[in-house]
Each structure stands twice: as structure tokens, then as C-alpha cells.
Amino acid sequence: MSPRSLALLSRTAAALLGGYALTCASVIFLGAVLPLPKSQAILAASLTSFAVYTAVIVWVFATPNLKRIWWVLVIASLVLTGAGILLGGEA
Amino acid sequence: MSLSLAVILAAALCYAGMAGLCLAMDRHHSQVWKAKAPNRQRLLRVAGWLLLALAVWPCVQIWGGAVGPVVWCGMLSVGAFVLVLLLPYRPRIAALLAAVAAGAGLPVLLLTAG
């Protein structure tokens, strides 16, 4: 596989899988911090998530620097998930 | 107001309103009139917005405050589609139809509102 197709594959994976991971992380985080009862916060975050996912995919396909995309996706996903679980406490 | 009257009225006002906005644009204005006419175009634009706004009334009358605006959005699309399909083939008829729709729709609207 040529380097260019590899780059495209990596970019597509970043958009679909990385994007989904970041979106999940955003739901976990918002579910913990939105000033609503927890179940309603999760529902609100879940309903918003499809817009988040769309925005992330568009961003991945608009940003030239592939390495930066992956770093942002991985770090943001981990930070948001960690913060969400810590702040959310026990179910 | 009966359901069918509301549907016809909303469709007529949406079509006429869209036609007003459309014919106010230079490109489409020239499809019907030979020369540009800034005053007429401004008038068409104002009338267009006004007619579209008035089309909310019959929708809300029948479908209520929640569903009415949804129906109105759908009618906007329908009005615009009919116009876009008619305009390139018969621009004058499209404009005439809009005049008739507005001319007949407005009095009916006033009668039912009063």
C-alpha cells in the first residue's frame, strides 16, 4: 500500500473510530457535569452526541496534519472519559 | 377554517411568497420583466417575506402551536419546489400564478381571520 493510501486509511479510521471514541467520551463527561439529574444529563449528552460526532468527522477531514489529529483525538478522549468517570461517581 | 381550506391557503401563500422572493432577484426578475426595476424588486421582496409569514396563520389554526410550524416548514418547501419546476419552462405563468395566489389568498385569509 502506498504511503498516500495508508494516510487516507489512517485519516478515515481517525474520523470514524477516533471520532466515535471522542464522542463517547464527550457523552460520559457531559453526563457527569451537566447541571441536571444524572439520567437526564446523560440523555441530553447522548442527543447532542450526533452533532459532536459530525463536527469531529468534518474537522478530521479538514485538518491537514494527520499526526496532530490522532494526538488530539486520543488525549481528548482519555481526559474526557477519565474526568467524566471521576466526577460522575458511583452509579 | 376547514382542513382543506387551510391546506390550499397555506400552499397558495407559500408559493406566492417564494415567487415574490425569487422574482426580486435580478436573475429571476429578468426572466419575467425585460428591465431591472429596483423599486418593484424591493416591493416583491417585502411582499414575499410577508406572504410567507402570513402562511403560518392557517397552519397554526388547524394544527396548533406545536405542529403548525412544522406543517408550515413543509409547505415552504412545497411552494418553492413548484416554483423552481415551473419557472424555467413558463416564467410568466409562474409569476401570474403567484399574483393570483396572493390576490385570492389574502382576502380569504382576512375573511377567516375576522
Binding site: 453526563g31 450526533f50 491537514p64 460522575g88 | 422572493l21 416548514c73 424555467p88
Partner: protein, 547 residues
Amino acid sequence: MSKVESGAAEGGLRQAMAWLHTWGGLWACWVLFVIFLTGSLGVFDEPITRWMKPHLPQAAEASGDTGLDDGFDRPGAVRMGQAWFEKNQPDAHFWGVGLPSDEDPSIRLFWQDPQENFHNTRIDARTGQPVDGSHERDSEGGHHFVHMHFEFHGGTAGIWFVGAFTMAMLVALVSGIVIHKRIFKDFFTFRPGKGQRSWLDAHNALSVLSLPFQLMIAYTGLATFYMLYMPAGIVAHYDSEEAYFADLLTQPQHQEITGIAAPLAKVDELLVRAEQQLQRPASFVSIEHPNDSSASVLVFGRFIEKPGEYRLLGDGGGQVFFDGVSGAQTDIQMPGELRGGAAQDVQSVMRNLHFAAFGGHLVRWLYFLSGLAGAAMLATGALLFMVKRRQRSLNEFGSATPRVYRVIEVLNVGTLTGLSIACVAFFWGNRLLPLGIDDRPVWEIVVFFVVWLLSFFHAALRPASRAWVEQLLALAALCLLLPLLNWLSVGEHLLLYLQRGDGERAGVELVALATGVLSLWGARRIARPRAVPARARQRAAVAEAQS
């Protein structure tokens, strides 16, 4: 493959989005076309079902009546259902009884076996015996289109499949908005008879004029299945989906099976108590873990449409929860009562917006037309891709380019006209398959898929322009002859429907006739491209010069 990716995230934002729109849109457009066409037909699932099942009564106007006595013995039906389950499915984890009504006077039974698989059957409300459907035209009816629309008849995997492509739709819409340079200037622009220009105009006009609908329908579709598509929040913060729901809707907690046998409370008495409190007939009784000490009973109030009253929220029929052993009432949610706060209200409105059942016939027609506009937007997009490359190859795939183009062309034909043919063939299958055969509804769906598959073979074997014409002619023939087939097979026809005031069944045939005429016109246009009328061309030129 070395040049395929040229363009990804290259150039400015608009160029990057153009690349994303072209390639993302191309690979998604065929599946999305299926979702849109079958979804549009699914808006009219009930009329289609009535057409396919001539034994069903004509649709009645909603009376809005909430009286408890509608001539059906619902407590008796519950006793009958319970007796059938005790005898045939004593080990099931879940029993459900769909109560008889004007819509369907039989008792519908649903159960989940110990392996967690769902089943259903129908029994006669007078005799308690299984319904003998051999004389009826047994059919999946319009539900076939609904199921194609949201899951391709593929269960949970199918729902995921549709969800993934719906996300592609959202991305394509957003990227399409970014690359459309003159959304407002070109708002009303359609210049026919100018080849590629006309296709682009048509694609733009269809998308822009129906954009609110397209965004709404894609988003609300995803929101309807948010639990499946986006479970992360629930998984991270709750032990189970049931716990989340109980918390959100402040309902009794879900009980695990204990394995301790305990006799079930008298469900028919619970039904009577529930109906008196809800002040309306019940539609469904569900019994969780029957004959276990964790048993619970849930009675659903009937959904009652009040004439002239349209709402996007608070249309629920209410529900009453009981302990399944003691019969004690554990919760009641009155009809129209809202739970779960603003977030749940938003979700309910989104779901109702998607399901198109909130505003009567006109809203259904608007959804049908807007859905078809969406399908046409996808079709024009797919065609535009090929029209652009038919004159001059862009060589995106190196030496394989002609072969890839050919595959795209075949997929275009087989999806756009092929699926349409398959949809009509489904109606033909309904009238031609013999009555009383086993799994008759499944065979109708087999007809649908086989005809669809054949259309791909046909498209692959014929030159593209011939394939388009031949499939359009086949579509026209099947559509235009459908009323005749109906008359010959079951003796009903359009005039009879109109005379009877059966607008639903008549509508099915009128839409078929209109589709037939349109496809005939399309076939003629492709077979004999006509010159553009001089007047239209002249006006278009003037308009072009002044824009």
C-alpha cells in the same frame, strides 16, 4: 489506488469538504437511497398494509372515544392469552398480550423464550384457538418497507448499519452546505437541458429546498435509537440500561429473576383496575418473569387519537405497574403525563417528528414528498458523479478507472431503478403468491430481494443507457398494470375504492400509476433526448448573462 486519496484535507476548507462530499457521498448514496425510498413508502405503511390485506376493514376516522366499553372483552382476552401461555410457553421469561380492538379483533401473543429469542402468534378472541390464516392474504404489508428503512431486515446489526450511513448523511449535508458557494443566490435556480449543469442545479435545488427536512430526519432518526448508537454514558454511569430507565422515568426498578416459583396474580383483575384508573381501554399487557417471585405486570393504555388535536408531546396512553405476585400497584403514569424532564421531552419530540404520525394525512404527504426529494437528491448526486466523468475520465483510480466507473454505473442503475422495481414487485408478489402457503409474508419479501438482485445482473449485462431505459420501462409496466392485476386477482379496483371512499387503498394505486407515468416519461427522455425548447434556452442564456 495511488491517486484515490488525492484531495483529502488538501487545499482550503472548501476544497477539503468538496473531496469529502464527493467521495463520502458516493460510497454512502446507494444505501441512503434505499433508506429514503423505503422510508418514504413506510410513511404510508398502514394504507399499504390495507391494500395488501383486502380482508381488513377500511380505515375509520379517529373518534377520540375513550369509553371503556368498545364491544371487546379484554379481561377475557387476557385470561385466554394467559391460558395459552400456561399451556404452551410456561418457561418463557416474558409474556405479552396485545388486546383486541377495531384495528385487529384477534389476540396477539408475544413471548421471549429462555434463550432470549422473541416469538409471536395470534389467537381468535372468541375461541382461544390459533387464528386460521389460510384463507387470508397473509402479508408483512407496509411494515416490510419500514423494516427495510431502519434495519434492512437485519435486526440489531441492520440498525447499526443504517445508523452508520445516517451519520454519513449528516456529514454529507454539512460538507455540502460548506461547498455550495451561492446557496441564496442559486436558491431558485434550475436550468434544464444543459447536461451536467442541469444535474448540479437539480441536486442543489433538491438539497437546499428540503434541507430543513433532511437535517431533521437524519438527526431524529439517530436520536430515536440513541440507546443503541450511543450507550457510552449509560454504560459509564449505570449498572444496566434498565437501571438508567428506571431512574430517568422514575419507574419501579427492574427485578432480576430469582428462580423462586410464585403464582402469578390475577392479571385480568389487574387489567380492570388499570383501565379504571387510566380512564381508557388498555392496548397491551406485559408480564415480566411469569410465575417467578420477581414477576411484574405492566398495563399500557390505548393510544387514542382525538380528531383535530395534533401534538408532538404527551401523546402517550399511560401505563400502570403492578407487582406480579401480590398484585399491588407500584406505579402509575397517567395518559399525557411527562417524565424524564426537558431532555426526555426533547427526545420524545424528536421521535415523534421522525415517525410522521403527529399531524394527520397532510403531514404524511409532506413527509412522503420530502422523503422522495431526499431520495432524488441522492439519485441526482450519484448521477452527477458519473455525468461529470462520462465525457472525460478523471482517472482517479489509475488503470482501474474504467472498471470502477462501470461498477459505479451498475450500482446506480441497480439501486435507483432496480430498487424501485423491487418495491413494486413486492406488491405483485402479494397478489400472485398462492394463499395458505407456509411463511407467505417471508416469500413476499423473498420476491422483493430476488427481483432487486436480478436488476443488478441486468444492469451488469447491458450497456448503461440501455439498462436505464429497460429498467424504467419495466418499472412503468409493473406500476401501470398493478391496478389491473389487483382487479384480476382479488376483484378490487380503483373505481371501487373511490366509490367506497377508501382513500387509503385508492391512494396506493394512484401513486403507482403516477410512478408509472413518470418512469415512462423518464425512459422516453433517455431514449430520445429532445432538444430544449428555444424559448427556455434563450431565457436561460439571458439569466446566465445577468447572474
